[in-house]
Each structure stands twice: as structure tokens, then as C-alpha cells.
């Protein structure tokens, strides 16, 4: 049971680490979309 628990814990940590990377990827997309929206709209390219 302990062994199983340890394996589970390691899996969880691995998943969580990728989750953290995903957070920053999403934040980057949000910033990129904001910049894209501003530039494309104000430059007249959005339409």
C-alpha cells in the first residue's frame, strides 16, 4: 500500500508540474491575444 501510495504521489507531482507549465502557457496566450486584438483592430487589419 505504501509503495502504491508512493508511486501515486510521484505521478501526481509529475502531473502537477505539467499543470504549472500549462498555467503559464495559458497566461502567455491571454497576453498574446490581447496584443493581437489591439494591434489588428487599430491597424485596420481585423476586418
Amino acid at each position: 500500500m505504501n509503495n502504491t501510495g508512493q508511486v501515486e504521489q510521484e505521478k501526481q507531482e509529475g502531473w502537477y508540474k505539467y499543470g504549472m507549465m500549462f498555467i503559464f502557457l495559458e497566461a502567455f496566450i491571454a497576453l498574446a491575444q490581447t496584443v493581437f486584438a489591439l494591434f489588428s483592430t487599430l491597424s485596420g487589419a481585423a476586418g
Binding site: Q12, W15, G19, F22, I23, I29, A37, G44, A46
Partner: protein, 446 residues
């Protein structure tokens, strides 16, 4: 026969279902310009159409969590995707406004998927990883609204009928996939336990606690605002900044729709994609034991998370007032910049709430989620109506902040005030009176 799945696989499935549901939910708003033109709608009618996307949410969401507990999230999800997909296809046919309005009203109930997915994810992840898992689920799914506003007019132009048809077919395909590979819970025991706690008495008891009411109002001023803005903003920018858009060169109706949709999506993208980050900040508050607000509870382990929730409420209120000033200035760049920061603060609010709710209501997370995630959507109905009914189209944001958000914050302060042990059982009537198995207080506030 037991089906097997992985937690990451189920998370991706839930987020995909939520994403498609959100695109369908707000597809009407993405084509508001085309619909306005075809049926000759006025500003007030646009506000009604925008708010109608939220009308059935409070009632349906409240019970969606209970149904998911009862029959399992995959079946509940398949049902939701099937009927909304069918009505989306139906909405693409017919040529009168009544038909369009009614069918889209039903399609808009796709928003109930939020509660089903929350329940699905909760059944697969443990407490320590729940915040991040729910953040990724909700943050990724919510982006569907922004994605719809950004992409649908680009792909379909003013041809909203084709868009509704294709989205309906996509929902039907996903319903089959969800039913085939979705697994209700990580193990049978967890699924059976969920079935047992989904009772009417438990629901009534949880929804009458002061803490759940305060958190529901907090979610109404963040998520409720997010969805209200999703429905409202494309029309707002099209009407309020028409002159500025035309000066840039957006003269045709289609170009105006795309430009307005592009800037409106800024709020949705930021409110959705920063949401998981808010859970991370909540963890930092907890780790550093930050309790900046002197009038809120200070000394319990969970106090820092409550302070982060309140910080987000203050930030949202300030940004709403600033959005009014930006609109009144007539400066499109300033308005879009403020809108992006507003979305950012909304994400703080939504992410912080679901870092707290499952911990406070760990005995009945599905019921609490259904209530907080359900009734709060009333905000999404009311805000567009206020925005559309005030004499000046820019004033609505500050009006909502002053008349609604400040009272919500006062209620939150009373529910979690300083010098008092957080009593999740405080509310209207005792647990004995409701006949539930026991108090919520057994919950460990950690």
C-alpha cells in the same frame, strides 16, 4: 463492464466538452450584428437577446450537479451535448425571429456543462491537486466564449446559420465520444458516495448557509459578470465605438462585426486563461499567510484564501468603474486595455472562489458548486439588462459596481468577519431542522 480512464484523459475530455458547450452558448452573441441587421433589432432588444443566453442557467445549473452525481458525469454530459446540439441544428433552419430566439434559448443551456464538468473533475482528482485541475478545466473551457467571438465571424462572416449547424453537429459527435470514453469517477466507491449525498435536504441546507450565499454573490460579480460581458460586449463596441471603428476603416457591417468581436474577446480570453493562475496565487497567499484586510477573519488556516477572494472583489469593482471612464473618454485603445485588466481581475475572482469552496464544503462539494455556479449566473442576466437600459451606454459598468458589487462585498465581510471562527453551519436554520446526516463543521478548514 467497468471502463478505465486516466485522470489527465478525463480532464481533457471534460475541458473539451466545456469548450464546445461554451462556444455554442455564446455563438448567438458572436453574430449579434448579423442578427440585428436581419431582424432590425434595437439596442434594448439586443440587450434582451444577450441576456436571454443566461435565463435558464440558474435553474438548470442548480440541478445539473445533482443529476451528474446521480447518473455520473459522462451520461449527464452526453445528454446535455445531445439536446443542445439538436437545438443548435434546429436554430439554423427557419426564418423568423421567434423561432431563432426560442431555439437559441435552449442552446444557451449548454452553459450547464460547467457544473457537470466540475463534478466530473472532482471525481477524479484529490484535494491537493483539485485547485489546479479545476482551474485548468474551467480556464480552458471558458475560453470557448472568446474563441467563438474571435473565430466564428472570421470563419462564417455573417452566415450565422451555417455556424449554428456545424456547431450542433460537433456537439453531437462529442456527445458520442463522451459517452464512449468518459468514466464517472476514479473508482466505484467514489461514484457510489456521490450518488448518496445528492439529496434535496442536503441541497436546501447548503444553499441557506451564509458562507455559501456570500461565495455565490462573489461568483455572481466575477463569473456572472464574465458571461454577462461575453454576451454584451460585441454589441457594446459595435454601438459605442462605431465612429472610431469607421475612422480606422471598418465600414461594412461584416468588418464592424469582426473588429468588435476581436476586442470583445479580450475580456473573455483574459478572464478564462488567467483563472488557473489565480489558484496559484491563492496558494501563495496561503503559504505566506497574507491577510491584508483587517476587517476579515485572520487566524484560521484558510483565512489567507478568503483574503485573496476579497482582494479580487475589490479589483473587479475598481476596474468596472475605470471601464466606464474609458468609454466616456471615447478612447478605444484605453477601453480595450482596461477591458483586458478587468478580465484579468475577473479571473482572480473566479479562480480564487473555487480554491475555497470545495474546502469549505468538502462534505457536499457538488451541491455547493451547483448552487454557487448556478445561481450566480443570474448576474449574467441582470448586468446586460442594466448596461442596455441606462441612458448612457458607458455608465452601466460603474452603475453595477456601485449599486451591486459594493453591497456584495459588505455581505462577504459580514460572512467572514474578523474575530470570529468561520462557522460554515451559520445560516437559516440548524442542520437538525433540515434533517441532514450531520453539520458541515466536521470539515477540516485547512
Amino acid at each position: 463492464m467497468d471502463k478505465k480512464g486516466t485522470k489527465v484523459g478525463q480532464l481533457i475530455l471534460a475541458a473539451s466538452g466545456f469548450l464546445v458547450s461554451f462556444i455554442m452558448w455564446f455563438a448567438t452573441a458572436a453574430f449579434s450584428v448579423a442578427i440585428m441587421q436581419e431582424y432590425g433589432l434595437e439596442k434594448a432588444q439586443l440587450a434582451v437577446l444577450a441576456s436571454s443566453a443566461m435565463w435558464l442557467q440558474p435553474f438548470f445549473r442548480q440541478y445539473a450537479g445533482v443529476v451528474a452525481d446521480k447518473i455520473g458525469a459522462p451520461k449527464a454530459a452526453a445528454i446535455a451535448l445531445t439536446y443542445t446540439g439538436v437545438f443548435s441544428i434546429l436554430s439554423s433552419f427557419g426564418h423568423n425571429y421567434t423561432w431563432l430566439f426560442i431555439t437559441r434559448l435552449v442552446v444557451a443551456t449548454a452553459g450547464i456543462f460547467f457544473v457537470i464538468g466540475i463534478q466530473h473533475v472532482a471525481q477524479w482528482f484529490n484535494k491537493q491537486e483539485m485547485g489546479l485541475a479545476q482551474g485548468i478545466y474551467a480556464g480552458t473551457g471558458n475560453v470557448g466564449a472568446g474563441l467563438g467571438a474571435l473565430m466564428l465571424p472570421r470563419i462564417y462572416g455573417l452566415d450565422y446559420r451555417s455556424a449554428f449547424l456545424h456547431l450542433g453537429v460537433l456537439a453531437l459527435v462529442l456527445a458520442v465520444v463522451y459517452y464512449r470514453i468518459g468514466v464517472a469517477a476514479v473508482d466505484r466507491k467514489r461514484a457510489v458516495q456521490a450518488r448518496k449525498t445528492a439529496t434535496l435536504r442536503d441541497t436546501l441546507y447548503v444553499v441557506t448557509r451564509y458562507a455559501s450565499i456570500a461565495l455565490m454573490l462573489q461568483y455572481a460579480m466575477t463569473f456572472g459578470l464574465e458571461i454577462g460581458l461575453n454576451a454584451w460586449l460585441p454589441g457594446y463596441y459595435r454601438l459605442a465605438f462605431k465612429g472610431q471603428f469607421e475612422a480606422i476603416g471598418y465600414t461594412s457591417l461584416e468588418a464592424l462585426a469582426i473588429a468588435a468581436g476581436t476586442v470583445a474577446a479580450v475580456q473573455s480570453f483574459n478572464a478564462s486563461l488567467w483563472r488557473p493562475f489565480s489558484g496559484y496565487v491563492s496558494d501563495i497567499f496561503l503559504r505566506k499567510k497574507w491577510t491584508p484586510w483587517p476587517f476579515l477573519t485572520q487566524h484560521q488556516n484558510i483565512s489567507p484564501r478568503i483574503h485573496w477572494v476579497f482582494t479580487a472583489m475589490v479589483a473587479v469593482s475598481i476596474m468596472m468603474i475605470l471601464l466606464t471612464f474609458a468609454g466616456l473618454s471615447g478612447n478605444l485603445t484605453l477601453s480595450v486595455t482596461i477591458l483586458a485588466i478587468l478580465g484579468f481581475t475577473i479571473a482572480f475572482g473566479t479562480g480564487s472562489n473555487f480554491g475555497l469552496t470545495p474546502v469549505l464544503f468538502s462534505k457536499n462539494p457538488g451541491v455547493a458548486t451547483g448552487f454557487i455556479g448556478g445561481i450566480s449566473t443570474v448576474g449574467g442576466i441582470i448586468y446586460p439588462l442594466v448596461f442596455g437600459l441606462v441612458p448612457n451606454i458607458h455608465i452601466g459598468y460603474a452603475t453595477v459596481a456601485v449599486l451591486m458589487f459594493i453591497p456584495f462585498m459588505l455581505i462577504f465581510i459580514v460572512a467572514f468577519k474578523r474575530g470570529q471562527h468561520i462557522d460554515v453551519d451559520a445560516g437559516l436554520g440548524t442542520w437538525e431542522k433540515y434533517g441532514v446526516a450531520g453539520p458541515l463543521e466536521e470539515t477540516k478548514l485547512s
